[in-house]
């Protein structure tokens, strides 16, 4: 069809606009319905009993006491759990982990479900679970990295290859005139989306309907179909809103499967909502790491070697190992590079991807080690990074599809006022006498794409319906994807109805890896393009159309009209074209994924630079981040307002990583003793001030047709190191563990006054 060429819509009128969230009103009025808000008739409440030991066996449950409690309907234990059709140890979908669904009486981590109680009310089910008063044959739990022997394990990261060696590492060490050999530790962290994992499950015959927050609708349907022996199309999954995901809602979890099983067993709808405490166990976490970095530089402060070894915790029964050392593969140019991983099996729930998996932990250690080497070499940390700026991806030698990192450094440093920073630590004070420190870090996150499909329907009235099962967990998919769709159709946003968050819609893949807008967006863009192409064919062939015969020139769609490219005066409204063609709607389909040859050819990453100011009380050692300025280059930004919010959110995650988040285990039972929001700190409002985000535009013709990279995770990287480096700069104390606590500065003997 050479005569119906459609010009690509690259810069439409919607994309690039700071459009206000389309779901805003629903969210500020309480009308947005999250999974646990559903209340079908005849509902039973399910509450599971979590193990309070991490290793051993359950020897007794007082089922009689629980059953006797008024309102308790049924108790499910390993002894009487109805069978599942699928094996809980199997991995039915690409991203899955082994689940705990009462298959036996062993306990493999604290927080593992050991019984499920169904009640007519939440209160009855909750008390029933308490009355089970479990007894255990406990063994000493292994929850610290030193509790077991590490073994070699090369995890796969997003986009970057598994750990590897490039160049002559021994030679690189030998050539160094300045070197650091430092070991950093990062604590186990838990996603803790504000909405805990929840499900409302209802069966009708062998059709299953689920209200459940999901970052990957179609994949989840496949997994549930497998576990319950039904075809995937028998699973309806509704996930219009997610109260945050951060990686933890992309997977099938044991508690949710148990609730579905209970619904099938009782023939009644079942609601299960994890408690906050229960979020520390069966729904993934960021595993603890210990990372050794040996960096060397020559007299010109050029890196001779980056040698990054990481040991990360995983569970005793499944494999997810933080690809932390991979962070060193994408960033700085060095003569030689080594990234190696080992894992330790502990009695913890299986870790999983958590906002910037691998990169967050790896970047934290790498950026600090870089700072240490800059200090060693006596040069400014920013200057040091610029001297080692990578023009091709160090780990692969590939050219970057685009890389505006220099602009990020420049703009953020300028805005922050980095120039004039004293090299030595402990040089700055504010008027109140607080120590002031400035630090920086480089941010990087790969720009992966997964696979997604979308459908666009141009209605006879010229408005459109676009559909994809995309998940909005706060990143703004409802809005940004609709903007892309509207552009692809040449329609104003209010003429486009956008449907997402339902498994009946075309599969939008996974909302994760910062690749959702790129992937689902590309699919939507293609679907819109498909509609316009069809419309062009109709118009070009229609003698009554002013566009008749203009196919060779190609068409562009603008404001509900199809126009001849290069002669936009010559145009016709969509509705008019369709009306003459019989008045039927036009349906277009599209898919989004990256061509393997592009992925092969280019290194594709988003980049950024983060500058932090901290204040530290010189005696009391309490710390506060007082300014954070980040500049990020992440391809084309569809909605600057939403992107900025995402990046800020990521940077605040960086603050929490640097100063707050740490799960602490009782060393005997392995129970997490701070498994709640009073004990497991995340940043509060008062921890956030002086936050600024700059987005640096990049035209990237290679990442995808839309030039989108992704902003969901990169904000975490860079920031952690920037804050830690600022704390060093304020105090002169280098803390090599995260989070950095008051006691760490105290115990390092930070001098008084």
């Amino acid at each position: 069809m050479p005569d119906t060429l459609v010009q690509p819509v690259r810069f439409g009128s919607n994309s690039g606009q700071p459009v206000t969230r389309r779901d805003g009103i629903a969210k500020v009025t309480g009308a947005a319905t999250f999974a646990a808000d559903n209340q079908p008739a005849g509902l039973l409440h399910a509450v599971y009993l979590p193990a309070t030991i991490a290793r051993g066996r359950v020897t007794h449950l007082d089922v009689a006491a629980a059953e006797a409690h008024p309102g308790v309907v049924q108790i499910i234990t390993p002894a009487d759990r109805p069978p599942l059709d699928g094996d809980p140890s199997a991995k039915p979908t690409p991203f899955s982990f082994r689940i705990d669904v009462l298959q036996d009486d062993t306990v493999r981590y604290a927080g593992q479900p050991i019984a499920l109680v169904l009640g007519e009310t939440l209160e009855a089910a909750t008390e029933g679970a308490r009355l089970l008063a479990p007894r255990y044959a406990a063994e000493t739990a292994r929850t610290a990295l030193d509790d077991e022997t590490p073994f070699a394990f090369e995890p796969a990261g997003f986009g970057l290859p598994a750990g590897a060696e490039h160049g002559d590492v021994a030679g690189g060490h030998a050539a160094a005139t300045q070197a650091v050999d430092v070991t950093y530790e990062t604590a186990a962290q838990y996603h803790n989306a504000m909405e805990t994992h929840a499900v409302v499950a209802a069966w009708e015959g062998d059709h299953l309907t689920l209200d459940m927050p999901s970052q990957a609708l179609a994949m989840s349907c496949g997994a549930y179909a497998y576990f319950f022996g039904i075809p995937a199309e028998n699973v309806t999954l509704r996930s219009p809103y997610l109260g945050g995901g951060f990686g933890s809602k992309a997977f099938t979890t044991g508690p949710q499967v148990l609730a579905i099983l209970a619904a099938r067993m009782t023939g009644r709808p079942v609601k299960l909502s994890l408690t906050r405490q229960q979020m520390f166990g069966p729904v993934g976490h960021r595993g603890a790491t210990r990372q050794r970095l040996r960096l060397g530089a020559d007299v010109a402060a050029a890196l001779t070697v980056i040698d990054h070894e990481s040991i990360a915790a995983t569970s005793s029964f499944d494999d997810f190992v933080e690809p932390a050392a991979n962070a060193s593969q994408g960033l700085y140019s060095a003569q030689a590079l080594r990234a190696a991983h080992r894992a330790v099996r502990l009695d913890v729930g299986t870790p999983g991807p958590m906002r910037a998996p691998g990169e967050a932990s790896g970047s934290a250690a790498l950026e600090c080690a870089m700072d240490e080497l800059a200090q060693e070499a006596g040069i400014d940390p920013l200057e040091f990074r610029l001297r080692n700026y990578a023009e091709t991806e160090p780990g692969t030698g590939k050219p970057y599809s685009s890389k505006a990192l220099r602009q990020c450094y420049d703009q953020a440093a300028e805005r922050f006022g980095w120039a004039g920073r004293p090299l030595a630590p402990r040089q700055m004070r504010d008027e109140a006498g607080l120590l002031v420190g400035w630090g920086m870090g480089t941010a990087l996150f790969p720009a992966p794409m997964f696979a997604a499909e979308a459908r666009a329907t141009l209605r006879p009235d010229g408005s459109a319906l676009v559909e994809t099962s995309a998940a909005d967990m706060g990143q703004g998919a409802w809005t940004a994807l609709a903007q892309i769709a509207a552009d692809s159709l040449g329609l104003p946003l209010d003429r486009v109805e956008f449907r997402a968050g339902h498994s009946d819609l075309p599969d939008a893949g996974v909302a994760g890896g910062s690749g959702h807008t790129a992937t689902a967006g590309t699919a939507l863009h293609a679907a819109g393009g498909d509609v316009i192409r069809q419309l062009g064919e109709i118009a070009a062939a229609d003698e009554a159309s002013p566009l008749h015969g203009a196919g060779n020139a190609g068409f562009v769609a603008r404001d509900g009209r199809l126009c001849v490219a290069g002669d936009e005066e010559r145009s016709e409204a969509f509705a008019d074209i369709l009306a003459r063609a019989g008045g039927a709607a036009l349906i277009g389909n599209g898919s989004g994924s990256r061509a393997p040859e592009d992925a092969e050819r280019w290194a594709m990453n988003a980049h950024g630079a983060v500058f932090a100011e901290v204040k530290v009380d010189p005696d009391l050692c309490q710390m506060r981040v007082t300014r954070l300025v980040g500049a990020f280059a992440a391809g084309r930004i569809i909605n600057p307002k939403l992107a900025e919010s995402q990046l800020m959110g990521g940077m605040i995650w960086g603050t929490s990583f640097a100063l707050h988040e740490e799960a602490r285990h009782d060393r005997h039972t392995g129970r997490i003793v701070n498994a709640d929001f009073a004990g497991y700190h995340i940043a509060v409002n008062a921890d956030v001030q002086g936050l600024e985000v700059i987005t640096v535009h990049e035209d990237d013709p290679h990442v995808n047709a839309l030039g989108i990279k992704g902003v969901g995770e990169i904000g975490v990287t860079g920031t952690v190191g920037a804050i830690a480096n600022a704390i060093w700069h304020a105090t002169g104390t280098r803390v090599r563990r995260f989070p950095i606590r008051v006691r760490d500065l105290l115990e390092a003997g930070s001098p008084v006054g």
Binding site: Q427, D430, A432, D619, L620, H665, D666, H681, D687, E747
Partner: protein, 351 residues
């Protein structure tokens, strides 16, 4: 949560009559309901005392003393302009605790009676002498980095988490209680108990006794110009203290006529040391003096586990609080009450 009976008595007499050994008084519920959920506390009867008549008043006596009804909400007490003026560190301590929402609910009586935040206490599956006498203390060999460094025993190393009680201790508050045997007064110093062999006896309150009010003597206001509360935390707000200190000075000219110093989160009760205060009396304020007094305040401190760092921190906190008190109470409550970052900082950075 275990099921319970609920009673809302109309008078103090009715309340006292309703009491039984399985009963618990319910104030704002911010601590009791929480612990009923974890199962650490399981009352059979909950007696709601929040609407008892006459207990929600803040009354100044003709002599300048203050009587705070046990049902006064933490927020209302902190926001009372006279309290803020005459007893600034009481207001500051209240505002440094919990959150705006919690302070709106929490009562004065409940705050005094709040339980330790030791996680093993909150978790019924753990061994805890305080919750279940004789079962042992899992914290002793467990996660104890934030637990007591003063006044602890082998039986229990928990701390009292209240901010409010720290200035109360410094200012010689008196707790008015009424029980089956009638009314009595308990000096704040005797109110909270050190664990010894009976950590389950957390206060001097006898079974069935109800707190009616907290009184502060007129002399407490003598410190108004030089009283501060300081709370060191792992995040800027909405966090319990690692260590806190209430420091108050009565100045005569440029000399300290009288000093008060109490530490929080270091023991099962607010920790006040007469020797430290005595060191300060009659002296001119100066950092070395404050350091010596702070050192004296920590006399006898010993780690109960992985927490020797708290001794150092407590010393520094005490010294700083004294220095802040010497500088004077701020005219207006700092934006971040009791925080090291609460002082007007200005954005200017001297390189």
């Amino acid at each position: 949560m275990k099921r319970f009976d609920y009673i809302r008595p109309a008078s103090i007499d009715e309340a006292l009559a309703a009491w039984n050994p399985g009963a618990a008084w319910l104030g704002g519920g911010t601590n009791l309901v929480d612990l009923m959920k974890t199962g650490a506390v399981q009352p059979d009867t909950v007696i709601d005392v929040t609407r008892l008549p006459g207990l929600d008043r803040i009354e100044w006596g003709a002599d300048g003393s203050l009587r705070i009804g046990a049902m006064v909400r933490n927020a209302d007490l902190a926001d009372d302009p006279e309290v803020a003026r005459r007893l600034p560190m009481v207001a500051e301590a209240l505002l440094a605790g919990a959150s705006g929402q919690l302070r709106n609910a929490a009562t004065v009586g409940g705050n005094l009676m709040q339980h330790t935040r030791c996680n093993y206490f909150e978790t019924p599956q753990a061994a805890c002498n305080r919750r279940d006498p004789g079962t042992g203390c899992d914290a002793r060999d467990g996660e104890n980095a934030n637990l007591a460094v003063l006044g602890w025993s082998e039986a229990c190393i928990a701390t009292n988490p209240s901010d409010f009680c720290v200035p109360l201790a410094a200012l010689d508050a008196v707790v008015e209680v009424q029980g089956p045997e009638g009314k009595r007064e308990i000096a704040i110093a005797d109110f909270h108990s050190l664990p010894g062999d009976t950590p389950e006896r957390r206060t001097a309150l006898e079974p069935g006794e109800l707190i009616l009010a907290v009184r502060l003597p007129a002399a407490a206001a003598d410190f108004a110009g030089h009283a501060r509360y300081l709370k060191v935390r792992e995040r800027t707000s909405y966090a319990f203290a690692l260590v806190s200190a209430a420091a108050a000075l009565r100045m005569e000219g440029d000399r300290i006529a009288e000093a008060r110093l109490a530490l929080g989160a270091v023991a099962a009760k607010p920790w006040r040391v007469a020797e430290a205060e005595a060191l300060l009396a009659g002296q001119a304020p100066d950092p070395h003096l404050f350091a010596r007094a702070a050192g004296a305040a920590l006399t006898g401190a010993a780690p109960s586990g992985d927490n020797s760092w708290k001794i150092d921190l407590a010393r520094r906190t005490a010294a700083r609080a004294l220095a802040m008190a010497a500088t004077g109470a701020p005219a207006r409550m700092p934006a971040l009450p009791a925080s090291p970052f609460g002082e007007p900082a200005g954005d200017h950075v001297h390189a």
